[in-house]
Symmetry: C2
Subunit: 218 residues, 2 copies
C-alpha cells in the first residue's frame, strides 16, 4: 500500500506529518513524499525543509493521496501540472485525502464538486465557492474522499482512516504508539470555543493568509 | 527568541514537529533545526527527510532547546559531542525541553538528575534508571526543564510553554490557528485506557524499540 504525500513550498508541516505519523504505521504501508520536482520544500514558517524523494512523474499509482494545506496552497489554485497529477492519480486511488486548505487544491482540481468536505475553519467559504459542500466536522468522509479540518486534524483523520483500512485494533496500536491522549491546556481549538478576541485576531490574519500572505504569528 | 530543535537519524517526526508547529508561532520566535552535521536526517519510519540548516557549533545560545525522541535516540546515549552540546547550550537556555524518549538523552547528558520528568510510557523505567523521577503526567515542568510524554504530547507541551512565554491569549491564538480541537476516534491513547491486547502488543515491540530496534508497525 503506497501513500503519497504531496509537498510544495510554504506547506504547513503538521498538515503533512499528522497523516504521515499515523498512516505510515499501518502494517505494510510505504510512504513517499512527492513534489513537482524531487528535492527540499520549505514550510510556511520557513524553518522546516522537508525532502520530496520523488517527482510527480515517479509516483503514478499511489493507493492513498494526502494533500496538506498551508499558505503556499494559494500559488497552486490554477490548472497546471499539479492539478493534472492530482487528477491522474486520483483516478486509481483507494483514498484521496487532504488536511486543512489542502481540500482547496482538491476542489480546484475538480474533485470535490458536490461532495461533503471540510477545510481549515478560515477556508470553509473558499471551499464552498469551489463547489464543495463544507461541513463543520473535523473529519469528513464522502466516498473515497476524506478531508480534515485545520492543521492538527490530520492526526484524527489518519487514525480514522487507519481504522477503516486496518481495523480498530491496528488503529488503536498506532494511537497508543504515538501516545495520542490529547490534553490541550485551553479549550480554544475551534472558533466556537475560543474567546471572541482570539477568533477575531485569526480572522484578520486569515484574510491575508488565504490570499497568499504570511501565516499568523510567523 | 531562538528555538533550537535537535535532529539525529531515526528521530520520530511528530516529536519534533509538535513543538515546532506551536512554539515557532510565538511572536518573535525564530527556529533552527540543528544536527551534528548540517544536512538531511531521516526519520524512524524512513520516508521523512528533514533538513538541519545548522551544525551544532553554529548554534551556541538558543533560548529554547527541544530534543525529540525516536528509536535513533539509543545510538546517542553514550557521552560524546551531542551530550557536550546539550550541556553547553543548556547552561544558557531559558527552557530545556524534550518529547518522548528525548528525555532519555537529556537524562543521559546528566540534566535530569533528581528532577520530575516524563517520557514515552515505554521509556519511563529507563528514565528512572538514569536518575530522573518519572511521573505519569503528559507534560512535566520542573524548573526550566519541560518534558513531554510520547510523540503527540509535544503539541500539548508546546501550547503550555507558549502560554508561559507569551501569555494565554497568544497560546490560544496558536491553538485556534492549528485548529487543535482533538477528536481521537478511540480512547486508547494511554496504556491505562487502551484495551489490554493493544498495550501488550506495544510492550512487546517497545522492548526492541528501546534497544534500538524498529518502530512498531514500521
Amino acid at each position: 500500500m503506497q501513500i503519497a504525500i504531496l509537498l510544495y513550498d510554504r506547506f504547513t508541516t503538521l498538515d503533512a506529518i499528522g497523516p504521515y505519523e499515523t498512516l505510515s504505521r499501518i502494517p505494510g504501508a510505504e510512504t513517499v513524499f512527492v513534489g513537482e520536482r524531487a528535492g527540499t520544500y520549505r514550510s510556511d514558517l520557513g524553518a522546516v525543509g522537508l525532502v520530496a524523494d520523488a517527482a510527480l512523474d515517479e509516483v503514478t499509482a499511489p493507493d492513498i493521496l494526502v494533500v496538506p494545506g498551508g499558505p503556499g496552497q494559494t500559488a497552486h489554485m490554477a490548472d497546471g501540472p499539479l492539478h493534472d497529477w492530482i487528477r491522474a492519480v486520483d483516478a486509481a486511488t483507494t483514498w484521496t485525502t487532504s488536511v486543512c486548505t489542502g481540500s482547496l487544491l482538491l476542489a480546484a482540481a475538480g474533485l470535490l464538486k458536490g461532495r461533503r468536505a471540510t477545510s481549515h475553519w478560515l477556508g470553509l467559504d473558499h471551499l464552498a465557492a469551489l463547489g464543495a459542500e463544507p461541513t463543520g466536522e473535523r473529519v469528513v468522509f464522502d466516498g473515497k474522499y476524506v478531508t480534515a479540518a485545520g492543521v492538527s486534524s490530520g492526526i484524527d483523520m489518519g487514525l480514522r482512516l487507519a481504522g477503516r483500512i486496518a481495523g480498530d485494533t491496528a488503529a488503536q496500536i498506532i494511537q497508543l504508539g504515538i501516545e495520542y491522549d490529547p490534553q490541550p491546556p485551553y479549550d480554544a481549538g475551534s472558533p466556537e470555543k475560543a474567546p471572541a478576541e482570539v477568533t477575531a485576531a485569526l480572522r484578520d490574519h486569515g484574510r491575508s493568509l488565504l490570499s497568499g500572505g504570511r501565516e499568523p504569528n510567523a
